[in-house]
Amino acid sequence: MTIFEKMMAIDRRWVFLLLAVVVVGTYAVSFQIPIRINSEVRSIYEFVGKLQPGQIVYLGIDYDPSMQAELHPMAYAIMEHCFRKDLRIIFCTLSQYGSGMVDAAIHDITDSMKLDQTYHGVAYKGRELVNGVDYVFLGYKPYFILQILGMGQNFRLPFPIDYYGRPLDSLPIMNGVINYKQVACVIDLSGGNITDAWVSYGQGRFNFPLALGTTGVMAADYYPYLNSGQIFGLMGGLLGAAQYEQLADNPGPATDGMRIQVFAHIVIIAFIVVGNVGYFTSRRRRATEGR
């Protein structure tokens, strides 16, 4: 076997090993990489930024722990941005393991909001977020299409009580909030077909402003909706989350993860190049040798 043929048939364990070394190495070494912002993420940040204190954002945490690396940082960045602007959030999950994701995010963000912070040079005093006043967590119900349609009629139809067992009518945040008409926008973070349901059955029927956060591999599927104006913003994968963190001056796990992702991509590209160099050189040699 020639060197070029070997280049085409590297044992996949070497691929795994090199990738593992790069991932662990870039994780261990702390450095920042510049992140370019694209317009589809900026439009979400600007939409949220223009909302008035007290307005309500519906945040759909429709993902399982398998997607938390990509989607959890988006949730954290949006939550912190909303709460910093004194917006109120309705949380809900239509994914079976999503309740734990929402619960963890609420705990972490309510803790971090207690601290004094400075973003874009503006100091924000720490404050205690009150469950039922600043936010409500509706909980989880199966059959996401039905729940999206049901909430369009009245949030109380699918969710008469919140995740903690309290009637929605007893919560100050839900006072006068019937359905999507009282919500400034819906931001759905999902890694599955729940995203399609939000576009078709949610925005399509009830016509509310909708933004999406999806996994990196899914993002390309939703550009038609962006172009048609059915969604006003789109965050794709860890990169989308990192861009939101940069815009909000709140670098977090996504910004950290970008250096790992960039170098992992470089390794993958290097292997693709090696494979193709081997392929073309072997082919040319075979042609010249008349095989």
């Binding site: 990738l19 039905l146 067992g165 599927d221 038609p224």
Partner: protein
């Protein structure tokens, strides 16, 4: 009658759901909400049926001493343990199965199973994907013909679009990536979405008009 009644029900409710979309009257909304409740109730029965089917398939594997029955044991134990964890709660200082307390939603056992079993397992499996993608990309992305070369070039541009180490080339790569996403990708996706939409309408019409009857099974 076994065939005509289901076809009639599908026709009536199918047509109602189509027309009520265009009728924002209070009574139409009321019936629509009522039907949504019905679908949820029927869905709960489907859930029970699903659990029963899962139990039955795995129980049969155990009974028949199939070679991979070990997985069935793990599945059945996990299934029943998770159900129990969901209802296990500490009320008035004592542990027990409670079916209507709010503590059940935040059960200590369920939360721990979630935090220390489900979450790490799911995250681990998904993160392994990165390694398989790397290996698959190395093997599959070969410029064997024009179409494969186009695919390879598109993949490289998209992977490199936010790479900060490209210097002045970075802007060109980024613009090329945006063009790829907003022109060829958009056109192809839009065609697929419209095609799927038309297919769904055609299938729905066939079901409503009783032409497509596979949902009734063989009978």
């Amino acid at each position: 009658m076994k065939r005509q009644i289901p076809i009639l029900l599908v026709l009536v409710f199918g047509l109602f759901m189509v027309f009520q979309y265009f009728v924002p009257h209070e009574s139409s909304e009321w019936i629509y909400e009522y039907l949504l409740d019905w679908i949820t109730i029927i869905g709960v029965f489907a859930l029970v049926l699903g659990i029963w089917s899962l139990f039955r398939v795995n129980y049969d594997k155990l009974r028949q001493h199939k070679p991979d029955r070990g997985y069935s044991v793990v599945l059945l134990i996990s299934l029943f343990a998770t159900i129990c964890f969901g209802f296990l709660a500490k009320v008035d200082g004592s542990w027990g199965l409670h079916f209507s307390t709010t503590e059940g939603l935040q059960s200590y056992m369920y939360r721990h199973a979630y935090e220390y079993v489900i979450r790490p397992i799911q995250s681990t499996i998904f993160s392994l994907l990165a390694f398989f993608i790397a290996s698959a990309a190395y093997r599959a992305f070969r410029a064997r013909n024009v179409l494969a070369t186009l695919l390879l070039a598109a993949a490289l541009i998209l992977m490199l679009r936010f790479n900060p180490y490209l210097g002045p080339l970075g802007d060109y790569v980024s613009n090329a990536a945006n063009w790829l996403l907003n022109v060829p990708n958009l056109a192809a996706k839009r065609a697929i979405v419209i095609g799927i939409g038309l297919g769904m309408v055609a299938t729905a019409l066939k079901v409503i008009l009783g032409i497509e009857r596979s949902y009734m099974g063989k009978g």
